[in-house]
């Protein structure tokens, strides 16, 4: 029992070390492109494959998340005669936390798993070895485009989640709680007032988007690192995908908490 726990712990430490090392390699290569135009095109392709294709599910999940938050919160607020605050609460929830978190979970399921599966399959079928034999750096060729694309698309998709979630919340506020659209938007606008960065970026907005970028990079690094470490044929690839998804979700939660604490609680 102790041996098993130790082995699991050691595996986690080794995996974390590998992922951190991979992140370092990605960052070094990001600031020293060898073929800027070609590498830019590779990033754009990955943005389409792993980001644009996720838009329909992001919109659907965002709308329903906003509706749920609005309904649950609205019921309690109505009990206190404060349903007019619903716009503020829905907007603050979406922009600060729900937007980046929901988007990260969706990208973990769609893109993070795909990165682990694609690269894991390449590893077990010796395509990664073939790249190394051709003196082609697998980190620059495979990992960097995915990590960059996921960082960018997580920000873009989070903005969409924020907007569509708030829209969904507004619809429920109007139809279920009797809060008019102007009253809802007034509350939502109020939630985003206060501290500004560069004179126009509301704190709730930029903290949420910064979280989204960090989550996107994390999902890409974790997915790719698990794929690169895959072994043992199709079963091994399956294990790598599972580990990538679990690790990404856990790390998104932990990092999300500490970033919230840093911005709002410290």
């Amino acid at each position: 029992m102790v041996e098993r726990v130790g082995a699991v712990g050691l595996g986690m430490v080794q995996g974390s070390g590998y992922a951190l090392g991979l992140l370092g390699k990605v960052l070094r290569r990001a600031f020293k492109p060898r073929h800027p135009l070609r590498e830019f095109r590779a990033v754009v392709n990955q943005m389409y494959d792993h980001g644009v294709k996720a838009i329909p599910v992001v919109i659907l999940v965002a709308v329903f998340t906003g509706m749920i938050v609005s309904l649950q919160t609205g019921i309690e607020l109505r009990g206190m005669g404060s349903e007019g605050l619903i716009g503020r609460i829905v907007a603050a929830s979406m922009f600060r936390e729900m937007g980046p978190f929901i988007t990260a979970i969706i990208l973990t399921a769609t893109a993070g798993s795909a990165c682990a599966a694609e690269i894991g399959t390449m590893r077990v079928s010796e395509e990664i070895d073939a790249l190394e034999m051709m003196s082609i750096d697998p980190v620059r060729f495979l990992v960097l485009p995915r990590v960059a694309a996921l960082g960018i698309m997580c920000v873009a998709l989070t903005l969409m989640t924020d907007c569509f979630g708030t829209l969904g919340g507004a619809a429920i506020a109007k139809t279920q709680l009797g809060v008019s659209y102007p009253e809802f938007w007034e509350g939502a606008r109020g939630a985003l007032e206060g501290e500004y960065l560069l004179g126009f970026l509301a704190k709730d907005l930029y903290t949420g988007l910064l979280k989204a970028f960090v989550f996107g990079v994390l999902i890409g690094v974790v997915g790719c690192s698990q794929g690169l470490r895959a072994s043992g044929g199709a079963l091994g690839v399956g294990r790598a995908v599972r580990r990538a998804v679990v690790a990404s979700i856990v790390l998104v939660l932990i990092l999300g908490y500490y970033m919230t604490w840093a911005f709002y609680g410290a």
Binding site: M122, E127, D129, M133, M134, S135, I136, D137
Partner: protein
């Protein structure tokens, strides 16, 4: 170590030049000792076939030669460089002198045959962009796949994938070619055509070739020398005729397909 012969010495008196040498190489995976003091040399422009049972360590030997795997002990010298002492950049430069044909081809699934072959040229800027297409066409012609350039790997047969993999390996004009079981899983006719390609490539370019195989017919058809890997070491290495007459126990059992005394793999 064999002495280097002067460049202008008559051919018949020139000692064969060693381009790759493994001395006392050891490699283990956990408790599984795969290579246990392996000694092997590869000469310039020769085709050396390494035979051995499944799991004997043949593929590991190839990967140790080109630095994909680091040995646990011993020395690996390729083109006068100590492979184990090279850093990442040094390994990248060394690998430019190798071509590697993987067992399943290891073609990138999202690229066509032409794109796979062009990949090392384009990514490493090995030739001006305007010359890439010509080199790719020449490589496809060499493996008799002139009309298959637009196919993706899942649209090709096993033999076609291996030929595209060979084209990709030779397009960079390497000094040595490593073949990992190039004929495994192929029918006899395709096997013979791959064998002819291996010999023709060596004849045309003078490249040194190491072929990992357990196909005896193929081995004796193409080899200048045949080596036997057994128990983590090379137990015999000789021209085909001499190899067939070897009285070394492991060689005799392998040639006679006699599993007596061998662990099941």
């Amino acid at each position: 170590m064999e002495p280097e012969a002067p460049a202008d010495a008559p051919a018949e008196t020139t000692a064969p030049r060693t381009v790759i040498r493994l001395e006392g190489v050891r490699k283990s995976f956990g408790e599984d000792v795969v290579l246990d003091g392996l000694d092997l040399e590869v000469r310039k422009s020769e085709i050396l076939v390494v035979l051995g049972r499944s799991g004997a360590g043949k593929s590991v030997t190839l990967k140790v030669i080109c630095g994909i795997l680091r040995p646990d002990g011993g020395t690996v010298t390729a083109f006068k460089q100590d492979v184990a002492a090279l850093d990442e950049r040094g390994l990248r430069h060394l690998r430019e002198r190798f071509g590697y044909v993987f067992q399943g081809g290891a073609l990138l699934q999202w690229l066509t045959a032409e794109e796979n072959i062009a990949l090392p040229l384009v990514e490493n800027d090995l030739c001006p962009p305007g010359e890439v297409e010509g080199k790719v066409r020449a490589a496809l012609g060499m493996v008799d796949l002139r009309d298959a350039g637009a196919l993706y790997p899942d649209q090709m047969s096993g033999g076609m994938r291996k030929r595209v993999a060979l084209a990709r390996a030779v397009v960079t004009e390497p000094n040595a070619l490593l073949y990992d079981e190039p004929t495994t899983g192929l029918d006899p006719i395709t096997t013979a055509s791959i064998d002819r390609l291996i010999v023709a490539t060596r004849d045309r370019t003078g490249v040194s070739s190491i072929v990992i195989s357990h196909d005896l017919d193929s081995a004796f058809r193409i080899a200048d020398r045949v080596a036997m890997l057994h128990g983590g070491r090379i137990v015999a290495c000789a021209p085909p005729g001499e190899f067939r007459r070897s009285d070394q126990d492991a060689v005799r059992r392998f040639l006679q397909a006699d599993p007596a005394g061998e662990p099941n793999r």
